[in-house]
């Protein structure tokens, strides 16, 4: 296999892996559920916490459904 092709392939794979890692990190920062109670108290549950996943799955479905 020509060297240039191998280099291009490696670069493409590296970019893809990098973007996946970046997207996951961003998702951890961005994705969350904020619950606001009537008395003014609030709880923020970040992605990655077990409680958040079920709610975030539902939210993703809703966002997709509403598109």
């Amino acid at each position: 296999m020509p060297r240039k092709l191998v280099s291009a392939l490696m670069l493409a794979i590296g970019s893809l892996a990098g973007s996946l890692v970046y997207r996951r990190r961003v998702a951890r920062k961005v994705e969350r559920v904020d619950l606001y109670a009537e008395d003014g108290s609030m709880a923020s549950i970040a992605a990655g916490m077990p409680d958040a996943e079920r709610l975030l799955t539902l939210a993703r479905e809703l966002v997709a459904l509403a598109r």
Binding site: V30, L55, L62, V63, A66
Partner: protein, 137 residues
């Protein structure tokens, strides 16, 4: 003097002033859809059903964490957010584009819900005037 406002009119006002909202549904105490921006009835039904499930799950979580009655929530995902506000038995749920201005969206949803029950008269609370353009914050 206050008078009732049509839910569809309130929804139209909301979508006009809020550029961040993608779709909205207003649901009454019995779970019936009062107004929605989702044209297809079956999709609207599924949307409301999923919002109810989301609220049930959130309520369970709220109880576990010892919080008072749930008034509103935001679930933020990479592709957009889901906002739900409950007031006087009614509920308004909206989806937005990613990274919305949270306070502004909550304000608009609450205003919309309130305006269904009461529309301000001459001496009422002034409406927020905002043009639908980009990231108005």
């Amino acid at each position: 003097m206050l008078r009732r406002m049509d839910a569809a009119q309130a929804l139209a006002d909301l979508t006009e002033i809020s550029s961040q909202v993608v779709h909205v549904a207003i649901v009454d105490e019995g779970g019936s859809v009062l107004a929605t921006t989702i044209g297809d009835a079956s999709r609207a039904g599924r949307f409301v059903e999923s919002v109810s499930t989301l609220l049930d799950e959130a309520d369970e979580l709220r109880q576990q964490r010892g919080l008072a009655t749930l008034a509103q929530l935001e679930a933020a995902t990479l592709d957009g957010s889901v906002f739900v506000v409950r007031r006087g038995g009614r509920m308004i749920a909206a989806t937005t584009r990613p990274d919305p201005t949270v306070g502004l969206v909550f304000y608009d949803l609450k205003h919309c819900l309130r305006s269904i029950a009461e529309e301000p008269g001459a001496n009422g609370t002034p409406k927020r005037a905002r043009k639908k353009s980009g990231n108005a914050a």
